[in-house]
């Protein structure tokens, strides 16, 4: 299956991309996707920060099972306001 990944803020800078597509085996979780992306983009992981996961604009747990064409965003610590 293919999912769409959007990068924002520090992760966008580290990936050098705003939006990508990624092929994954059926049954992959959002946590699996994060591990795969770290192989594709070795600079992506930021030591010591806690990431949250969003699928189709809702927060989800790391074991959330992805589906075809899901929109996935890894949320670094937010700092609005």
């Amino acid at each position: 299956m293919t999912v769409r990944v959007k990068f924002f803020a520090i992760l966008r800078e580290r990936a050098g991309a705003s939006e990508i597509s990624k092929e994954l085996p059926q049954g992959s979780t959002v946590g699996d996707l994060w591990r795969e992306l770290q192989k594709d983009y070795p600079k992506l992981a930021v030591p010591g920060i806690r990431l949250l996961y969003a699928v189709n604009q809702n927060y989800v747990a790391p074991d959330y099972c992805l589906r075809e064409q899901d929109e996935v965003v890894f949320i670094p610590p937010v700092s609005g306001g």
Partner: protein, 144 residues
């Protein structure tokens, strides 16, 4: 009204939106950009947002506030893109029959925004720049 915008936020528009004949109070909160942070002189600020989700989260905060307090209407608008020092980065306006509810809901909304809304602030200061991160409790140093 729950949205993000690239343009300066118009306070009066939000006040007009929450004005209600049943309201006895309208509480505005204006978050502004400061010229200093942690001892650094801040030159400029740039906000980036995951727009669709940010607006959904703002609306969720509004729903949550309505469940907890007896408020009439709420409007939250958050700025994205470059914001000059001293300008409004976020404005929250709440109306309620009695002032306690509007004050409480406003306070709740700004605290929630800082925790859950996918918006990130980059601070540009003399000699560098940094993505400010509050969930980890540590500022993040942007990688060059």
């Amino acid at each position: 009204m729950f949205r993000v915008t690239d343009k300066p936020i118009n306070l009066q528009e939000l006040v007009d939106y929450v004005t209600d004949p049943e309201a006895g109070a309208i509480v505005p909160f204006i978050g502004t950009t400061r010229n200093n942070n942690e001892g650094r002189t801040v030159i400029a600020l740039d906000y980036e947002g995951y727009r669709e989700m940010a607006e959904k989260e703002l609306a969720r905060i509004g729903e949550e506030a309505k469940k907890q307090w007896s408020i009439c209407k709420m409007a939250i608008v958050h700025r994205l893109g470059p914001v000059q020092i001293g300008e409004a980065s976020v404005i929250i306006v709440v109306s309620s029959a009695h002032r306690e509810a509007a004050f409480a809901a406003s306070r709740f909304a700004i605290e929630e925004i800082k925790k859950t809304v996918p918006i990130w602030k980059k601070e540009v200061f003399e000699g560098g720049e940094v993505w400010i991160g509050t969930q980890s409790g540590q500022p993040l140093t942007a990688v060059k």
